[in-house]
Amino acid sequence: MSAAPLSLEGIHKSFGTKPVLRGLDAEVQAGEIFSIVGPSGAGKTTALRLLDLLDSPDAGRITFHGKSYPIRSPESLAQRRRMVLVMQNPTVFRATAFENVAYGLWLRGVPDAELRGRVFAGLDFVGLLEAAKESAEKLSGGEQQRIAFARAAVLNPEILLLDEFTANLDPFNVRLLEQSILRYRHETGCTVVIVTHNLFQAKRLADRVALLLDGRFVEVAPAADFFEHPVRPETRAFLSGEMAY
């Protein structure tokens, strides 16, 4: 059996004296939507930044198909380019919507003719074809979030990492983005890791769910089991909203 596209082994990370992650272990399977849930401040964003090779863990290994890459090495850049992280509160470049979506393709030296086709397809995918020439900063929050998704999707990543990508959005944009993601995964078969504190969203999208608490994954289970038959008492408390955070 070939190694999982993404796996975490004993990941530790602290900021100063404050431990945030205290031994994360998980294997994400090819083509699945893996959701990390947990209260805010649990370390979800921290974990995603480690997964995207933007920061290195204090201890433990992150492997991609069995290989790990020290950050800032040329190989890590290549691996970084096989995946994309869409950040919490995404920020757009002070440029047009087109240029924003084209950004990652420029970095990879995609030839102009091909690039235009992919960018317009990406804008179309999130319903912003008409806004191509508009300044991205002037778009609404929801539209900017869709730009951020398109900007990531046009790169055809093997792994898509999404951090609270619908926080602070209106229901219309939430639905639109969630559908985009499901459709995108369906069309490309890419692996998706979604971080959210919204349980309903996890339920709607995820194949498997992991609960991050006190720096560890206390329960990792298929979505149906996780929500219907949680094993751990912490999970039951979290799901019922009894946990005070």
């Binding site: 440029a95 950004y103 420029w106 970095l107 030296g109």
Partner: protein, 296 residues
């Protein structure tokens, strides 16, 4: 140069690098062009003259330089600074020739071997000027500045000092030392310092209806706009002698010594002396020729 190497990977918004490269090339070209121009000027066809503000403010230099240039083909670039700085520019080799009026400092400059030779050029005099309509200290018509200052002190008549350690300011302090009193702005409400040049100080004195000490040249040039008149003049102690000193080329090889000597000799020549004697400003002749060629 790293900046000019072709990038291995495409840069987003590369126009900013392009703008930088264009700016870099432009800056380099401008610097090279500037250097080419200044290097082209060697051997020099001009001399650098360091002189005092009073020589500039009287208008004499702007009047003399075109004559000198047409007589000799040598241009004069002059910078007008304080007496001390003018001599210092000479001793640094930054000026080819100095024209100043501070005999004791000039002698020290010569004694240090910085000057090639020192020729007297001309003289003017210091005068005590005061309000046109009144004379609160009662000094009009005196020919002794020390007595005049004494009366200003006893009557507490308003007096404006340059307060800037200029040659004029030093003379003023010397007169006060003859009076035997050192006025200060903290103790004497009648004594004020302008901290500015002669013309500006005269303007302040005029506006405040006060006395001040001035060289007669600057005063006469500006007198039309001033509500001031000369109260005290012809005090032998207040005569002001100008000398020209080419800088010693054996100390500073970069000196354009031929040009500097030419300038010194021209100023003390009959031609230079008669131009100085005939120079008029505000309807008067501020400088008396006093030249004597002491240069080799």
């Amino acid at each position: 140069m790293t900046a000019l190497r072709r990038p291995r990977e495409p840069l987003p918004w590369p126009s900013f690098v392009t703008v930088w490269r264009v700016a870099f090339v432009l800056a380099a070209l401008l610097i090279l062009a500037g250097m080419a121009v200044s290097i082209d000027l060697q051997p020099r066809s001009f001399i650098v003259l360091a002189t005092t503000t009073s020589a500039r403010d009287s208008g004499l230099l702007d009047y003399l330089i075109p004559y000198f240039q047409s007589d000799t083909g040598i241009g004069v670039r002059y910078t007008a600074v304080g007496t001390g700085q003018a001599l210092d520019l000479g001793s640094r080799g930054d000026a080819d020739v100095v024209l100043v009026h501070a005999p004791s400092a000039e002698l020290a400059f010569m004694a240090a071997g910085q000057g090639l030779c020192r020729s007297p050029v001309m003289m003017n005099q210091f005068v005590v000027v005061g309000p046109n309509q009144s004379d609160p200290a009662g000094i009009l018509g005196l020919t002794n500045a020390t007595i005049a200052f004494e009366r200003i002190r006893t009557t507490h008549a308003l007096f404006i000092s340059r307060g800037d350690n200029s040659g004029t300011n030093i003379i003023e302090k010397t007169i006060w030392s003859w009076v035997g009193y050192t006025p200060s702005t903290t103790n004497d409400t009648w004594y004020k310092e302008s901290g500015q040049g002669m013309a500006a100080t005269l303007d302040i004195a005029s506006q405040l209806v006060a006395y001040t000490l001035s060289d007669d040249g600057t005063f006469l040039v500006h007198s039309a706009n001033l509500d001031l008149r000369i109260d005290v003049q012809h005090d032998p102690a207040l005569r002001n002698f100008y000398s020209v000193i080419p800088v010693n080329p054996s100390v500073h090889p970069s000196i354009f010594v031929a040009g500097a000597l030419r300038f010194a000799k021209w100023l003390t020549s009959e031609r230079g002396q008669s131009l100085i004697g005939n120079y008029t400003a505000g309807g008067v002749r501020p400088f008396q020729p006093d030249g004597q060629d002491l240069c080799p």
